[in-house]
């Protein structure tokens, strides 16, 4: 293996292009090293971007919160800016793996590894983030939904392009977001279920809601039936409970020997969705 410490996004891209298909962008490497040891990684040129100054950091720019792609989960979880605007994102990022893992791993990594229920990615999902991707053709922007190609498959070709940053529109009055995780253990465990929700309320009624849930399909799955139902409703207990039930219409969970059967996940998903909405409501009151 050849290992390159890149000092900028451009340098990383140049190295990637030179490797011509055999390169991979490395941030936290927390998944990559495990896969590599298991013989599952074919890439022979590893391009480390953790010291690329233009890829690290959290700033507020033009009404957006901008998170550099190589920013670690710990930095995000502890960032005063993130805590101020998106406490649910800080919470989700602060839940992945363990502190040691979060000290290395990145939020972008949590998205592009495309695991079905990455807590960082899931807490980000309803916040309407935009991903900036740099390739030989220049920069392009992708939405959350456009990042996932399938189970554990990202639309990002890590041997040809790299994500440089995530931009999230700053919250406006009447908006609230929450993240809820159903877990067997706080650290060192994937969730049985997680759900993130963001709602906008005006004059006591929901104008829009975005609800994402996992692992009930590929990547963060939108609970569109519940979202549509919520629009125009007041956030009463009955409405939240009904929205929770409607979340089932978009969910297709699998059984896992440890983290719950399909049946159990279907039984508890409405509860988790309802609790996420309750948490949003609590913030708005």
């Amino acid at each position: 293996m050849q290992y390159i410490n890149a000092s900028s996004a451009r340098e990383a891209l140049a190295a990637l292009l030179e490797a011509d298909g055999s390169g991979v962008i490395v941030a936290g490497a927390t998944d990559l090293m495990v896969d590599y040891k298991a013989g599952k990684v074919k890439s022979t040129v590893w391009i480390d971007v953790t010291r690329a100054a233009d890829l690290v950091g959290i700033t507020e720019e033009d009404g957006k919160l901008v998170i550099g792609a190589a920013t670690t989960l710990t930095t995000i979880a502890r960032s005063p800016l993130v805590k101020k605007y998106f406490p649910s994102l800080a919470q989700g990022c602060g839940t992945v793996g363990s502190l040691q893992i979060r000290n290395s791993a990145t939020l972008v990594g949590n998205v592009v590894s495309a695991q079905p229920a990455g807590d960082g990615a899931m807490s980000l999902a309803p916040l309407d983030p935009t991903f900036t991707v740099l390739s030989a053709d220049g920069e392009r922007q992708l939405s959350m939904g456009e990042m996932y190609a399938g189970f554990a498959r990202s639309t990002i070709d890590h041997s040809r392009e790299l994500v440089t940053k995530i931009s999230i529109p700053l919250p406006k009055p009447g908006e609230a977001a929450a993240f809820v995780r159903l877990e067997l253990r706080k650290s060192l465990s994937l969730p049985m279920l997680n759900c993130a929700a963001m709602v906008h309320v005006e004059g006591g009624k929901v104008t829009w809601a975005r609800i994402t849930m996992a692992p009930v399909g590929v990547g963060p799955v939108r609970a569109t039936a519940a979202e549509e139902y919520l629009a125009g409703q007041e956030l009463t207990d009955e409405v939240l409970a009904r929205a929770g039930e409607l979340a089932l219409e978009n969910a297709n969970p699998r059984s896992n020997p440890l983290r719950g059967s399909r049946e159990y996940r279907l039984e508890t998903l409405p509860v988790i969705v309802r609790r996420a909405l309750e948490a949003c409501r609590a913030q708005l009151n």
Binding site: Y3, M33, G97, S104, L188
Partner: protein, 157 residues
């Protein structure tokens, strides 16, 4: 093979390394710093925790060349000669050590915490140790040891 330049426990080191290796393997096999344990090789137990550039990381899943230019502390660098660090002393005094296999990683996680946050809340201690599995103690005395060490360090030790 590649060349690695790094600082380990205050000593500048230049070494030939196999880029395929993890930092933990390098520390143990090349530097003979066997205080860093490997309990799982997947970042799931914390026994290999070291401090790299001020942060606790599981060295078993850190590519060795990530350490290029880094400042690394391992358990061997915590004591000053024969003088133990307050964390080390309190781990012994409070009964936080049993089999000892998790102890180095546990102390490194605790040290990274106290280096950054001299007055941690209970929840912060638990978060810092949440990635370090111990099967012997029930964690009760470990938490107590970190609190006792933090106390002493605040008093200037």
């Amino acid at each position: 093979m590649a060349e690695l330049h790094t600082t380990i426990n205050g000593e500048y080191v230049v070494a030939e390394v196999d880029p395929d290796q993890s930092l933990a393997q390098f520390l143990r096999e090349k530097m003979y710093l066997t205080g860093t344990k490997i309990g799982c090789g997947k970042g799931e137990c914390g026994a290999c925790t070291i401090i790299m550039d001020g942060k606790a990381v599981t060295s078993c899943i850190i590519p060795v060349l990530r350490a290029e230019g880094a400042v690394i502390q391992t358990i061997e660098g915590v004591a000053r000669g024969e003088k133990l660090h307050p964390l080390q002393e309190e781990f012994v005094n409070q009964g936080a050590v049993q089999c000892g296999f998790c102890t180095p990683g546990m102390i490194m996680s605790a040290k990274a915490l106290l280096d950054e946050n001299p007055e941690p809340e209970k929840e912060e201690i638990r978060e810092a140790l949440g990635g370090n599995i111990c099967r012997c103690t029930g964690y009760v005395n470990i938490e107590r040891a970190v609190e006792a060490a933090a106390d002493r360090m605040r008093k200037g030790e």
